[in-house]
Amino acid sequence: MLTPLMFGQTILSAPMGYTLLALFSVLWISLGVWWGRKAKSYDGFAVAGRNVGLALGTATAVATWITSNTTMLAPQFALQLGIWGALAYSTASFGLFAFAPMSGRIRKLMPQGYTAVEFMRRRYGQLGSIPFLVISLFYSLTWLVSMSMAGGKLLNVLSGIPYEIGMSVVVGVCVLYTLFGGMYAVIGTDFIQSLIILIGLVVVAVAVMLQVDLATVHASLEAERPMLLSIMFPAALMALFNNMLFGFGEIFHSNVWWSRAFAMREGVGPKAYALGGLIWLPVPLVAGFLGLAAPALGIGISQPDTVGPLVAATLLGTGGAILVFVVVFCSLASSIDSLLAATSDLIVNDIAEPLLTMQSSDAERRRMSSVAIIGIGGLAWCFAIPNYGTLATVLFFAGPMVGSCIWPILGGLYFRSASPVSACLSMVLGSVAGLVAYFQIGWFTASLVGAAVSGIVFLVTNIFAKDAFEFATLSQTLDEQQEATAT
């Protein structure tokens, strides 16, 4: 039996944790300032000049989708739900594959667009955009708060840094570099973060395989926890479909992904998202393997949510613990910065601008973005600082809500006949039905029910209320739209 490497209750000493935190904080902020020199105009700040190439486009899709949940929760999923647990997690990559062709269409239909809500407003009017904006803001803020809380908790679990300090540093650093560099900094740091995460996972997985062969892992699971190998594991099978639909809903609706579609050079989006999905797909499988290998390695797990770091630290010593700390910090930063940038775009373009009577100048929009980033970061910090455990679970309420956005978005992007009434009703009724399923049946059915009800409502209402939308109007500038409305 291997003895887990521990400093008291953690895998890394607190001084080492503070040193790593300081080093990477300085690195991300410096890069933000460096890339910020390019982000002078609003287009540069919000969508990186709309000229992002394949390397950074692919890396940003991978890094943003690897949250701290992917690296920490996937081993726990595998330890509790077995092979199906790891497979269920990896189905979240299907959302990236499905979004690949959509990103090309989005870029083509709205070459000057900024946000997903802007599309819904111009496609469906207020009937479609208001419920969509509410869902988008709820999802963005709950994801941001849960990531901030995860940051504080993980740094505490890994190195003993107090929750309040760890959480504040993670949020503060991400706010600062996003503030200086906008989308340039977000996408640029994503490239470095995705490489660190992928290489880190390969090193840890190879170390585990050198220590114990897969036949032993399989035999140990068969003897001690046969359920984890079972092909018929009902809860895990439900989790598979639920996770897949949650993933579709998250990617299809979230401005995190739309803003990247607008930022990539024409023709790059479909390739970058498809390749990003392919590179992301194995990440939960490899991370999940750490959970499956724990029993064979004889590593006693008292806290299942730290099984991944514990396995890495036990096999690789201090080097492994440092690697895990860095991978987790990168996973957190790559998601938090994306949320800050994408949500600030929503606030500027879909809340502030429509409320202003005059069209704001480039400099004013840039200033509004900065204020929005600080405001969103501050709001997330305020919600996260009391460390209410139940707050993190609120993100799961978003599952049925984003699941109910799948059909209105697909219909709106590809079919002229998709109508505002159908879009509105399907989002509202799908969300309500999914939330009822969440409380009455269980979390693993919520997105499934939300997406199914929303799809049926969307199809049925569209029979009675058809639209004849002109897609060409989506590429018009604001002046052209006003001129067309006047005539």
């Binding site: 490239f191 490489l195 068969e222 092909i231 390749l275 392919l278 590179i279 194995p282």
Partner: protein, 40 residues
Amino acid sequence: MNFPLWFLQLMVIGGTALCAIGSLALIAFLILDKKDNQIW
């Protein structure tokens, strides 16, 4: 009925290989983009 050993091997070895290929592919894309001056 359980998942066979070969499936676990495929999942873990295949997954690790894909992660390694993915990181190499990102570096290769960056070099190609840089060559064509198309990073941003």
